[in-house]
Symmetry: C2
Subunit: 336 residues, 2 copies
Amino acid sequence: MSKVNLKKLASELGVSISTVSKALKDSYEIGQDTKKKVLEKAKELGYKANPYARYMRYQKSSTIAIVIPEMTNSFFLQVINGAESIAREKDYHLLIYITHEDAQKEIDILNHLQNGRVDGIMMSLSCTTTDYSHLHACINSNIPIVFFDRICHEIETVKIITDDFASGFAATEHLIQSGCKDIAYLSISGNLSIDNKRMQGYLEALDKHNIKQDKRRIIKCTNDDKSNYKKIKTLLTGSKKPDGIFASIEKLALTTYSVSKDLEIKIPAKLKVICFSNLATADFLNPPMTTITQPANEMGAAAASQLFKYLDKKGTEIKNENIVIKSALTVRGSTL
Amino acid sequence: MSKVNLKKLASELGVSISTVSKALKDSYEIGQDTKKKVLEKAKELGYKANPYARYMRYQKSSTIAIVIPEMTNSFFLQVINGAESIAREKDYHLLIYITHEDAQKEIDILNHLQNGRVDGIMMSLSCTTTDYSHLHACINSNIPIVFFDRICHEIETVKIITDDFASGFAATEHLIQSGCKDIAYLSISGNLSIDNKRMQGYLEALDKHNIKQDKRRIIKCTNDDKSNYKKIKTLLTGSKKPDGIFASIEKLALTTYSVSKDLEIKIPAKLKVICFSNLATADFLNPPMTTITQPANEMGAAAASQLFKYLDKKGTEIKNENIVIKSALTVRGSTL
């Protein structure tokens, strides 16, 4: 099938390319009759504006990118769902990139995105990212970045977060009120502000309830599932075992379930477990898992909407703003 | 920061834009000294080729699209993960579109993709799609489509599938061997070939074991969770209750768990459940769920790889081919 472009339309109609182009843009320079003829012919031949040719004219890609650290966490799934809906509504296209928690991959991806492929980026940092030059470079190239969940404090921009401190506090206090006296915190990365805030909430709740803080109860996990399994197993086989675990992210709670199953430690009788999670199956787990549920879909939609606010008014400088969407505690069998 | 483009490089070096462009393309027309100077200056100023300008020169977007029906199924999650890895390897970009099982959304998306935004598409049909004109239109516009999982038989192309018939047969035979005598099949959509093949496998296994087929045992579910809940509840409260359920997709098995919990029907004592699923939490469910596990990551990677095979040799006509990657039965507590 031969390509239907402006040239082809112009030749079919016997007018200039410029006339066709202006007619399609509804320019005041072109009469109504001509406009009607051009639109009819465009429809008849199935003309579709080429996005690359459009970009060359308007310097607008109508594309945004979402950069996420992993695909096994149900939180990011729901974020993508929320972001994609808003992008479709706005007639934008959504590129997806996964860093797999690898700082170098994140740098490579951001470097690739500086060349105009996208109008803006929404992202959540990898847990190994410690240097932020690649983020500054993007912003210096006039590609706005909106953060969600795993934000970068150093960058002045819009950040969509949940109330990590308050939720970390509430999770820990819930364990205490359920009878726990010795609570361990499973950290995913000291580099991540969400992790630090959740841990601060944990420490604050211990303090409020006069439970002595113990650094050995803060377990530094990583992105390596096997190593996490070992660390949690060591924690749960020591001479002094915790009676409660607060996992900063979903997969650490699932590893805790796995270790408990293998060691035949009964949850919640011997060990109570709570975590940040958006698992659709939390209700059906054995036992059902008490979670701090983040408004993931809303956070994805909010991040996309905020980005579009700035893309709609190109040239507006993006303001530093933290938008907090609250999480909710859902009590289930793992802490009863 | 002012934009570094060919013009800027040319002006900095005091040469023509054409010289810069040819030097960057390593043209034989340009001397080694000049090439070296251009490359050094490009690096110094942080020049990055604009993808849209590149497209206008080479008619290649370096972008593919993945179109999936929903984001709640862990199968699609893993497919995206597999496809993204291959795309990154190939230095391609991946656009994501979700049809939410809505045929009209699928049509709109495919129509949008006919204009050169992507070089190719990998997709899984929505369960409400019954007309395929939008797929033919894409292929007629020289945008190849590779299908995975939910394929369209009518289109001559590469289709990445699993052994749905054999797996449906194996799932049903496993229920029979576990003692089930009255097995219901939960269908997600009569429009989908995967659903039909799984059901054919189910019927064949009943036949082999001399169990009479009963149309009332084939429950036609939809994309509406509430309506599915009601249908499954009706099935499980009738005067004659099935003792086994084979769910064609994950979410129907989870709804079965939900109904069973509410009706206090013990799984597996009173009802055995098996389904096609890639749930990471299958092991931790109450009871752990027996699944037919699809090689989702591999299927995503294979679909992307097959698409690239054709994109690498532009102009090659895509062959009709079914590539089968086998699923595996994992027996867990729900059928013991």
